[in-house]
């Protein structure tokens, strides 16, 4: 394993360039905002309260999402049933929805007038209240449990079939398999999954506020928003954004240190057969888990579909144009994500650099408001920022999707290198040849997943485009907001359904492309 790091290769330089671009976007914009500040800023008691609340809710939300995702992912990994691949695609859905759509979907199920409370009413029970700290956590679990399940499932699917075959021939019980095979894999995958979800919850703003029930649920991102828009205190906005990145950095260091490197032998890519899981009890347990998770995730989506269907055919043409613009942005953003993620992953792998991986993960903690403002300050002297609305949106979305792509790619890449690296070195396979003949074929699955996720994420993002867009250049999420702001909630519901369907289709196409031969 102890290969020398060798001199700087071309791949290292490309990776370093990609990292530099990411750093410029995250920290450069922060510096730009700080330099425009009129006075030095400090943090008051309210800011500390926001930091505390943010940390607590993000930690709890991430822990719960990951803890619940493990049994669900295990159940999905060892069962084959009709509709499994559709379910796995749907798992991507909540995470890519614009916040307001997802919140309204959640409320239609868990709200005071939602189907859950209505059902309780029939039984003569009090309706439940989703508002409060638990509401924030429920919503974050709704958003992130599917993502956690997918990331962890990725770990299970990467385990070679031979190991389970060997385990079965040795007569391993499920507990033995868990101890010898699954736990080491989880030890490798879980910290990264936890980190990504922690970072996602860190920058939550509208979800936390809406379901938190009041100003007690003030997150750092809301404090940034307040500093910018209420007080026009750029110094404070930048300082809070720095705190946010700092918290994210600390979390990244801890998570990457806890995570174990993988290193136990290659397989031959046979279809996995799980002799151990054939007991009736485990069958029932897995079916129940999959059923419950599916219900929890799919009910709110079904409510969005139900509300959207009636107006689907009456949507104005502008919604169609907005959808096309969003598609273009999503595809560009997905391509950019790969162009950034592969060199960074290669650099992190080649130089054994946790730092490179860490920096690539931080972007999700960057405040969209500060990035947008910073870019505005930087671009304004040279060009009219609204001319660049769509390219800037694609770039920022790509950088935001980077952590997910790295999360999916890094474990798979280190596996590939551990299994075939020495062979490739022996053959003198470097640079493009290694990328084409070793990495791309072996990384199809995580690459498809990462591309699909990046495209779908970009599709649903409202973040930066709202600050730059010209009136007739709105993306689909922006158009959806405009419809709602004009009281046209019914048309907005139709637009939300279009958005949901397009995001899922994008995700499905790429994800499916990555699994074509592997899942047959």
């Amino acid at each position: 394993m102890a290969r020398s790091l060798g001199p700087l290769s071309r791949a290292d330089v490309t990776g370093a360039a990609a990292l530099a671009l990411v750093l410029a976007l995250v920290l450069g914009t922060l510096v730009a905002v700080t330099l425009r500040a009129e006075a030095a800023a400090g943090l008051g008691p309210a800011d500390w309260a926001a930091i505390r609340f943010t940390l607590v809710q993000a930690t709890l939300s991430a822990a719960l999402s990951v803890a619940l995702a493990v049994p669900v992912a295990r159940a999905l990994a060892r069962r084959r049933f009709p509709g499994r691949s559709v379910l796995i695609t749907l798992l991507g859905a909540p995470f890519i929805l614009p916040v307001i759509v997802a919140v309204l979907g959640l409320i239609a199920v868990f709200g005071r007038a939602g189907i859950f409370s209505t059902a309780l009413g029939w039984l003569g029970l009090e309706p439940i209240s989703i508002y409060g700290f638990h509401g924030v956590v429920i919503a974050h679990v709704f958003f992130n449990l599917p993502l956690a399940t997918r990331l962890i499932l990725q770990g299970w699917l990467a385990m070679p079939a031979e190991r389970f075959r060997l385990a079965a021939s040795l007569g391993f019980a499920p507990a033995d398999i868990a101890r010898t095979l699954e736990r080491p894999m989880l030890r490798q995958v879980l910290p990264g999954a936890f980190l990504v979800i922690f970072l996602l919850c860190l920058t939550s703003f509208a979800v936390a506020l809406t379901l938190g029930g009041g100003p007690g649920a003030t997150t750092i991102e809301l404090a940034i928003y307040q500093a910018f828009r209420f007080d026009f205190d750029l110094g404070k906005a930048a300082l809070l954004a720095l705190v946010q990145v700092g918290v994210a950095g600390a979390a990244a260091i801890i998570a990457l240190r806890v995570s174990l490197p993988e290193g136990s032998g290659a397989g031959l890519d046979r279809a996995v057969t799980r002799w151990d899981a054939a007991t009736p009890l485990l069958r029932i347990q897995d079916a129940a888990l999959i059923g419950l998770a599916a219900l929890f995730l799919i009910l709110p989506l079904a409510m969005i579909a139900r509300d959207g269907l009636p107006t689907l055919l009456h949507l104005p043409a502008s919604v169609g144009w907005a959808a096309l613009r969003s598609l273009a942005v999503a595809l560009a953003s997905a391509a950019l994500t790969l162009a950034l993620a592969l060199p960074i992953a290669a650099l992190a792998q080649h130089r054994r650099s946790k730092l490179a991986e860490g920096i690539g993960t931080l972007t999700i903690a960057a405040s969209p408001l500060v990035i947008g403002t910073g870019l505005f300050i930087l671009l304004f002297p040279f060009v009219d920022p609204s001319r660049l609305a769509l390219p800037v949106t694609a770039l920022v979305n790509a950088v935001m999707a980077l952590p997910f792509a790295l999360r999916a790619l890094m474990p798979a890449l280190s596996q590939v290198e551990a299994d075939f690296g020495q062979l490739a070195d022996g053959l003198g396979m470097t640079g493009w040849a290694r990328l084409r003949h070793l990495w791309l074929p072996r990384l199809r699955r995580p690459l498809g997943f990462a591309t699909g996720l990046a495209a779908a994420l970009s599709m649903g993002d409202l973040g930066v485009v709202a600050m730059f867009a010209a009136p007739d250049e709105g993306t689909l999420p922006l158009t959806l907001y405009r419809l709602m702001a004009a009281y046209r909630m019914d048309l907005a519901a139709g637009a939300a359904l279009v958005l949901l369907a397009l995001s899922l289709a994008l995700f499905w196409i790429f994800d499916r492309g990555g699994r074509l031969d592997a899942d047959a």
Partner: protein, 329 residues
């Protein structure tokens, strides 16, 4: 692909043709320029008379328009900012970025007297709690009524939303030093506090609460556009807080005369008649044809409350601190 090339060609031609016409750039909030807002019709009507190219730039909401102008400073391409409100005018005039309008202001149909020649009102409305008549057969007629009732409420965060800030100042103007106490008594009824109007109103229509903080004119949308008379708004005996939306000319404008022409046009019938059914607010000058049918059914508070200028800003910070202390659980 071919269609795109043709479109690109056409727009090149168009921009060549327009190279000589002066451009008037107006920063405004997003929903103003949306397909369903007043923007498109305003642009067409003004361009018919001005021999110019009116370009709207949409910037989030009123507070973000001001933030954007402060970032850009004197080099801003904007000629006019349209969509600030009375809570922002003090901070706006302090920046020195705005210049008085050189126009003859007609008599304004506002509930209060207006004497500011820099910030010119174009529409206004009263904040109010909107409800469904079936769920709330006996609406409250004052804050004390509301607190005594058990109606559930959806409000917006004053730090991120204009109506939210309106309610904060409304409570402050009614209760003065007792505002913190009033918030503490009202809080148990508040289901949640949302980021913006959109979230709260959407949740209200989903049935999440009995009443939502919005405008007295909101029921007019449901009545006129949806033929649904089930929504109404509560007028309070203490009075309802006003929002007056204003526009102003930038001192750095390279088209000051054209900007004045627009501000004059803004108070004419052509612009004002568009407001009620696109922005769902009251026009600042009632057009000759009167208000659209249906507006006469709306609740009309007897008293209008409003802090102006510096007072609005001082009250804002004090009231926010009180609300945060009373509401942070």
């Amino acid at each position: 692909m071919k269609a795109l090339t043709i479109a690109a060609g056409l727009s090149t031609l168009a921009s060549v043709a327009m190279a000589e016409t002066p451009v008037l750039t107006i920063y405004t909030y997003d929903s103003f320029v949306a397909e369903w807002g007043p923007g498109p019709a305003v642009e067409a009507a003004f361009e018919e008379t001005c021999d110019c190219d009116l370009q709207f730039v949409s910037v989030g909401d009123g507070a973000e328009i001001l933030a954007r102008l402060r970032l850009e400073g004197a080099r801003s391409p904007a000629d006019i900012a349209l969509g600030l409100d009375t809570n922002l005018t003090a901070a706006a005039s302090e920046t020195g970025l705005f210049a008085p309008a050189q126009i003859d202001t007609p008599a304004l149909d506002l509930p209060i007297a207006w004497n500011d020649d820099t910030f010119i009102p174009f529409d206004w409305g009263w904040f109010a709690f909107v409800y469904d008549k079936e769920n709330v057969p006996e609406p409250p007629s004052s804050f004390e009524d509301l607190i005594a009732s058990d109606h559930s409420l959806l409000i917006q965060d004053p730090r991120s939303s204009t109506p939210g800030l309106g309610l904060l100042l409304w409570m402050k103007s009614v209760y003065g030093d007792e505002a913190a106490d009033a918030w503490a008594r009202l809080n148990p009824q508040i289901v949640t506090v949302t980021k913006g109007w959109t979230e709260a109103y959407g949740m209200f229509l989903e049935g999440e609460a009995d009443m939502v903080l919005s405008y007295t004119t909101s029921p007019a949308y449901h009545l006129i556009a949806e033929d649904d008379d089930s929504k109404s708004a509560a007028a309070f005996d203490e009075g309802n807080y006003l929002q007056i939306e204003v526009a102003a000319k930038l001192a750095s404008s390279d088209q000051p005369d054209l900007a004045d022409d627009f501000l004059e046009f803004m108070l004419s019938d052509a612009f004002q008649a568009l407001i009620p059914e696109t922005n769902w607010m009251y026009p600042a000058v009632t057009p000759e044809g009167g208000l659209p049918e249906g507006f006469e059914t709306l609740a009309k508070p007897d008293t209008s409350l409003l802090y102006l200028g510096d007072e609005a800003r001082e009250m804002r910070d004090e009231a926010l601190a009180e609300w945060l202390a009373a509401s942070a659980r």
